[in-house]
Amino acid sequence: MSLLFFIDMKRKIALLIGATFIIFSCGKDDVVTKTSPYSLIRPDYFPEITYPLENNPITKEGFELGKKLFNDPRLSLDNSVACSNCHVKGVAFTDPQHNPSVGIFNQIGTRNAPMIANMAFQSEFLWDGGVSHLDFVPVFAIENQKEMGEELHHVVYKLNKIPEYAPLFKAAFPGIDTITSPYMLRAISQYMLLLVSDKSKYDRVQKGEDVFSASELTGKAVFDQKCAACHSGALFTNYEYMNNGLDLVFMDVGRELISALASDLGKFKVPSLRNIMLTAPYMHDGRFKTLDEVLEHYRSGVKLSSTLATNLSNSGQLGIPLTDEEIEAIKIYLKTLTDYEFISNPIF
């Protein structure tokens, strides 16, 4: 009996060792995948990935080619404006200096350069949502007369003339002979897809690695009550198009241009608030330089027009009732959305 028991124990230990080894090796594989900086990982509290990755699998070579293209001013008409001119890494890929952004020949654009972060989880792009696939977002900026002012076919022509690009494209997309626009656009997408901002204090709290301070919790309570109807979820947007009461007369019709619906006049995409402390100026046209101006707008500046968001008029008065203390509290909470690892990530 005792012998049998002993043998049994030995078997069990052997099994246990074997199992541990399997678990360990599985775990190891997992760790390798998860720590590879060139794979897209969705935090479990994020929305689903919308980009069809199976059509454009991310590789180190593709990502790095995309990064090089993103930073290459030769994508513009006069070789002066790269994507990164108006999407600066240090401020979460927005434009800190200009209001709105400045394109070729120092032309002033009409809209504020939006943050490029967490693009893999969105299904419509630009302030009016006119672009329905990430691959086509750069075409808008490249061909916009006030931004990069170039024609896509001419960008492709130029890239084919620059000797350093041919081997980079071949490495990223094995088997191609010449550079064509779909490969260029897919490389830029690979770069943008990996620009995931998920390492702010807010994220650490979500992952159970940190806790909000008392003042952050106070701010969160105010925010959840007064702002989160539109700035909802882990990305702090409901992905809808809203008129937030900036104007009575709309110089820019916004979503109506795309939807052809009069009730969309003056509506723009609710922006993500991630990294909001870094991404001034604010609004689709960059009219507010500080977050204080933004919050003051919601408190006292909202203008009534037919398409105004109901959340900004349903309290019996225009705008959102906010005390000075509440404004300060909201700002403290929003600071937890700043992702310093994101803006200092050496591979971006």
């Binding site: 075409v139 241009l257 939807s259 052809a260």
Partner: protein, 291 residues
């Protein structure tokens, strides 16, 4: 009696033999009748019917004041360019023949998406291969690129946004049909997407719109249409019948809605292109078959 008994007892045995023979015979029959697949050509010929006579189109340079055509409102016009996408071709025959052209979109190229360009006569010829042998007397196709042209991501071939000249970057998607020219009644100073010095009579119809989103007024302007042939196209290995379809540019401006060149003549978004888009099915017609 014994024999009968034997037969009775071996009913299942005989059934098996009978079935096997039957299958064998059927498959033999099939084999002997079955022809190998062949090709079929679909030719899209752009024309203008003037005084009842079909005429080939003549393209002129932007700015030309030589107006060779007249629309349904007696307004004269000319043509700088005419391009359209043909997709989702399907052929059917009276005996159940069906051929659905494979549509595939990828970065290396596209299949089943054809761009007919009046400036490149060969682009009007679409050769479909591996079409099951049989007779066909009906064609269905779509003018325009459906959702997959965008949702599959940046694509090559006929959808390459750098070369197709049919891509809207601000409202990402493909123009279904692009017409540019001049009309004597137009006050438009532009032609197409360019503002040309001295061009004062431009008309541009960039007809597109593929999005359909619930709760919005997105205008879907792709058009799917079917035509029945008065004869049959016989397809098998070694034969390549040619089905001639015609597109009458006059009817683009008159088949359902009369298009007035004095207003709404610089069309660059889906909602503005709706009236002309509704004319597209009536502008196409089956013409004849070369067997």
């Amino acid at each position: 009696m014994k024999q009968l008994n034997f037969f009775k007892h071996n009913k299942s045995f005989y059934s098996v033999i009978f079935l096997t023979l039957a299958i064998f015979m059927v498959s033999c029959k099939k084999d002997s009748d079955k022809k190998d697949p062949g090709n079929i050509e679909i030719e899209f010929d752009n024309i203008a019917v003037v005084n009842g006579i079909e005429r080939q189109l003549t393209l002129v340079s932007p700015g030309s004041t030589d107006y060779g055509y007249t629309n349904g409102m007696s307004q004269t016009f000319n043509i700088n360019l005419l391009r359209y996408y043909i997709t989702n071709i399907k052929l059917e025959g009276p005996n159940g023949e069906v051929f659905t052209d494979h549509v595939h979109v990828s970065s290396s190229g596209t299949e089943g998406i054809y761009l007919v360009d009046e400036a490149q006569p060969s682009s009007g010829s679409v050769i479909l291969d591996n079409v099951p042998a049989g007779e066909y007397n009906k064609i269905t196709f779509t003018v325009g690129v459906e959702e997959n042209g965008v949702t599959e991501g940046a694509a090559g071939g006929n959808l390459d946004p750098a070369t197709c000249k049919m891509f809207w970057n601000w409202n990402s998607g493909y123009i279904a049909l692009k017409f540019e020219g001049q009309s004597n009644v137009s006050a438009g100073g532009t032609t197409g997407t360019e503002t040309l010095e001295g061009v004062t009579k431009g008309i541009a119809y960039h007809i597109g719109g593929w999005k359909t989103i619930d709760g919005t007024a997105f205008v879907y302007n792709n058009k799917t249409m079917s035509f029945t042939f008065d004869t049959k196209a016989k397809v098998e290995k070694g034969l390549q019948p040619a089905v001639h379809m015609v597109f009458d540019v006059i009817k683009l401006f008159s088949s359902k809605n009369l298009i007035d060149f004095t207003g709404n003549n610089n069309v660059h978004k889906p909602v503005d292109g709706k009236p002309a888009a509704e004319n597209i099915p009536g502008a196409f017609a089956f013409d004849h078959i070369h067997q």
